[in-house]
């Protein structure tokens, strides 16, 4: 089995495993429903009070669909950092290391498989809710294609950050605090609740170019307002973000491996 085929198999196994536990995945749908209902009310009032047709370049319907995508991406994030934390704390990572697999790549493909199932379910439910609440927005196959091109690297970028955080368990008693802080940085700096066009003008350029915006804002914006020229810039930013986070994770992983002491089993 060649190297890539091994990891694709890991990803496929993660997809099948999550398909078997759709009930657990579906429990998150309730969260999505409550959040989308509240945001619909918030933006209904905001559009009515301002009298504007568009805010941040988006109509009310586009705003809700934008939030469907950002929430579907955010809520699809698996607890990979805590799983890595657990591997480190229990010593299970020592078993993983003797397997003919790279531990980070194994985790990456398993996470992508799990996340794909969760994202698709969230997006389907979110889309049904958005259709009920505000109706459809104009979508084209080309536009959907651009959105789907922006999505995988967003997931890889997010994974690299969680990998670096999970590996910090070699030094910290608990990494759940770091996970929470990172997820909130993604929420605020990454435009999960508010499109970056509605942030103060002075910070918009900086936020768009930070890695956080490449995770939720960029794909969601591509969904409601597809633009091939913009996609090139998004992919470039995602590539740079992945390179930076991967370099940080690699440095932590190399330092962490030197701390492992296995004594039989």
């Amino acid at each position: 089995m060649n190297a890539l085929a091994k990891y694709v198999y890991v990803g496929r196994t993660a997809v099948r495993s999550n398909m078997a536990y759709l009930g657990e995945v579906a429990a998150r749908v309730f969260f999505l429903t409550v959040i989308l209902y509240i945001f619909l009310q918030l933006w209904l009032v905001t559009y009515a009070e301002t009298g504007a047709d568009r805010l941040g370049g988006l109509t009310l319907a586009q705003m809700l669909w934008y939030l469907v995508i950002t929430e579907a991406i955010t809520l699809s994030a698996p607890a990979v950092a805590l799983e890595i934390d657990s591997d480190v704390r229990t010593g299970a990572i020592a078993v993983q290391l003797v397997r003919p697999l790279s531990y980070p790549l194994y985790r990456l493909w398993a996470t992508l498989g799990e996340r794909a199932v969760r994202f698709i379910l969230n997006a389907l439910v979110g889309s049904a809710l958005a259709l009920l609440m505000v109706g459809p927005i104009a979508l084209s196959p080309q536009g959907l294609g651009l959105f789907l091109l922006a999505l995988p690297l967003a997931f890889v970028l997010d994974f690299m950050a969680y990998l670096a955080i999970g590996l910090c368990a070699f030094w910290l008693e608990n990494t759940s605090g770091l996970v929470l802080i990172y997820s909130r940085m993604t929420m605020i700096f990454g435009g999960v609740l508010l499109p970056i066009e509605l942030y103060p003008d002075s910070v918009q350029w900086l936020l768009v170019n930070l890695p956080f915006a490449s995770i939720a804002y960029a794909p969601a914006r591509m969904f409601v307002d597809p633009n091939a020229f913009e996609l090139v810039k998004v992919l470039a930013r995602q590539g740079v973000g992945i390179a930076i986070f991967a370099a940080i994770a690699a440095a932590i992983y190399a330092a962490a491996l030197r701390r492992i002491h296995a004594h039989g089993g």
Binding site: F31, I38, L42, V45, E173, N174, L178, I188, L198, P200
Partner: protein, 264 residues
């Protein structure tokens, strides 16, 4: 009176012991408290950004929303720092862990609730008071009323947690359902009441009684209105009474798990 003092001594002992247990893992404890503080701060940052762009939302301004967050986080924090098992009842029922609490010569519910302290809840308490003092800059009267309303909110969260968790007596494993119900309560509590109209408002008075957090306390603090404060307190006491009633009714249906395990 003697019984009340006796119970307060028990509360103090549990809080001290639970806090000491948290400090055994000092690094983890501090990181969770700090992370929750930052989590709450991120939500307030969202509202500050929102109101920077749209200064007024149906007569509500950023100060009102910060007040909601201060009351909700501090109230939730006080509830779960002292009565940390309030959010765990469904899981205790599903795992047959109520047995151990029934063996003590004390009333089951008020004793059981004390069995755990949530580390992150302390971050909520710190955040709630800090953001109210720093962002709203209250005078003494407003601060005193705020503190009282934090108490009312804590009572409501405990009562609601007991009510949501007690459905486990009827459904068996209701852990996920209870969690989702409590999640809905926390979420609705932290958004301006003015957003919700019609039938949803009825839900927010009953099944998810968030209006006793995001409406009456804010109205009370806006104009130092004791009548609104009284309505907030009455609502909290009503939810607590409902929670206690459902728990005791459900407890009669409880069957021992015959679980042989050390209490955590």
């Amino acid at each position: 009176m003697t019984r009340l003092l006796d119970y307060l001594r028990l509360v103090w002992s549990y809080v001290r012991l639970n806090f000491a247990a948290q400090l055994e893992y000092r690094g983890a404890f501090v990181s969770q408290v700090v992370a929750m503080f930052i989590n709450d701060l991120a939500w307030v940052a969202f509202w500050v950004l929102f109101f920077t762009r749209f200064p007024v939302l149906r007569d509500w301004n950023v100060s009102d929303v910060i007040t909601i967050w201060a009351i909700a986080t501090a109230g939730f924090g006080v509830a779960h720092a002292i009565y940390g098992n309030a959010g765990m009842i469904a899981s205790l029922i599903a795992q047959g862990q109520i047995d151990v609490w029934m063996l003590y010569p004390r009333a089951v519910l008020p004793h059981l609730l004390l069995g755990r302290m949530s580390a992150t809840a302390l971050g909520d308490v710190l955040f709630g008071f800090a953001v109210y003092i720093v962002a709203v800059q209250p005078d003494l009267a407003h601060f005193a009323l705020f503190t009282a309303l934090v108490g009312s909110t804590a009572v409501l969260f405990v009562g609601f947690g007991v009510m949501a968790g007690s459905i486990g007596f009827y459904l068996g494993n209701a852990t996920t359902l209870a969690q989702q119900w409590q999640f809905a309560m926390v979420t609705f509590s932290t958004y301006p009441a003015t957003l919700f109209q019609g039938a949803v408002k009825v839900v927010l008075f009953t099944a998810v009684p968030a209006l006793f957090i995001n409406h009456y306390p804010v109205e009370a603090l806006r104009s130092l209105s004791l009548s609104d404060a009284a309505l907030a307190f009455l609502g909290s006491l009503g939810v607590l009474a409902a929670g206690v009633a459902v728990f005791h009714h459900g407890l009669r249906r409880y069957e021992s798990g015959n679980l042989l395990v050390m209490r955590e």
